[in-house]
Amino acid sequence: MKATVLVRPKEGILDPQGDAVQESLRHLGFAVGDARVGRIVDLELEADDPAAARAEVERMCEQLLANTLIESYEIEIVP
């Protein structure tokens, strides 16, 4: 089973990287209102039960993959 974790800066948290990307896109002529930069973690899991897998990945996010002071996360389980 595979899981994809999407970690992004929480709303309201200053994201200087996103600001730099937004500015660069504007320089290229794209009309971009706001840009935020996060990261993706792809995982291969040994679990066979999607619910158990999700619960485990949630613990991974809380303990390591995201710093929940400043980041939110979304988990996608691919059976």
């Binding site: 948290i13 200053l14 200087p16 990287q17 730099a20 390591l64 710093n67 002071l69 400043i70």
Partner: protein, 234 residues
């Protein structure tokens, strides 16, 4: 006498690069320094204080300090801190202590997105053992910073608590904030007051010949506290 040169452990992670400077500075200020590899599970006997030095532990992978907190030695450091032992985290050490939950907040990429390397002025907001007993309240210290991710941040309720409980030890002088840190915070304490992290590098400011000797005030305060701890325990 051993009591006169208290033992201070400087932890060395893969990617630490200020461990030798910290060891040299603490040694010059009267400590007996042991460099402790991150894979160790114990601190040396009679350790009076612990320093987590600057650098790029584990290549700053994922987030600065996020991986180092799982090093075997960190369990010993956590136990030492829980027992009231003084622990100082400098730069990457500060990032590690925040990620380990030993200090409040988090260090984010500098608002400018640029690496900063220069002397900055900080004001001493709290005078107390074990880190600032040799300073005066409001004293202006000049200490260099060198980091890409030093923008301290914490949610408003945590900041309010830190202000209320006098745990913001150092703030950048107005106009000198090098990284966009919230409230100009340069250094914070834990609740018990025995764990501190700061982004400026006191170990690079211990000799006026090299620009400033102000960092020695912080490190010498720590040496005093380590001496006291070792003496009390003896």
């Amino acid at each position: 006498m051993r009591e006169n040169r208290p033992s201070i452990a400087v932890i060395v992670f893969p990617g630490s690069n200020d461990d030798q400077d910290a060891a040299w500075a603490l040694g010059a200020l009267g400590a007996e320094v042991s460099l402790v590899w991150h894979a160790e599970e114990r601190l040396p006997e009679r350790t009076g204080a612990v320093v987590l030095p600057g650098g790029f532990s584990y290549g700053d992978y994922l987030r600065c300090g996020a991986i180092a907190r799982f090093s075997p030695v960190m369990r010993a450091v956590e136990a030492f801190a829980a027992d009231g032992g003084p622990v100082l985290g400098i730069c990457n050490g500060f990032q590690i202590l925040c990620e380990a939950g030993l200090l409040p907040g988090v260090l984010r990429p500098n608002a400018s997105l640029s690496f900063v390397c220069r002397d900055v002025g900080v004001s001493v907001e709290v005078v107390a053992q074990p880190f600032t007993s040799r300073c005066e309240l409001g004293q202006r210290l000049v200490i260099p910073v060198k980091h890409g991710e030093g923008c301290w941040y914490a949610p408003a309720e945590i900041v309010e608590e830190l202000v209320r409980t006098d745990r913001i030890v150092l703030r950048y002088i107005e106009g000198e904030n090098p990284n966009g840190a919230l409230g100009g915070v340069a250094g914070v304490l834990n609740e018990a007051g025995n764990v501190m992290g700061l982004m400026p590098h006191p170990e690079h400011a211990v000799d006026p010949l090299l620009g400033s000797g102000d960092g020695a005030l912080i490190l010498a305060s720590l040496v005093d506290a380590a001496r006291e701890r070792v003496t009390v325990a003896a």
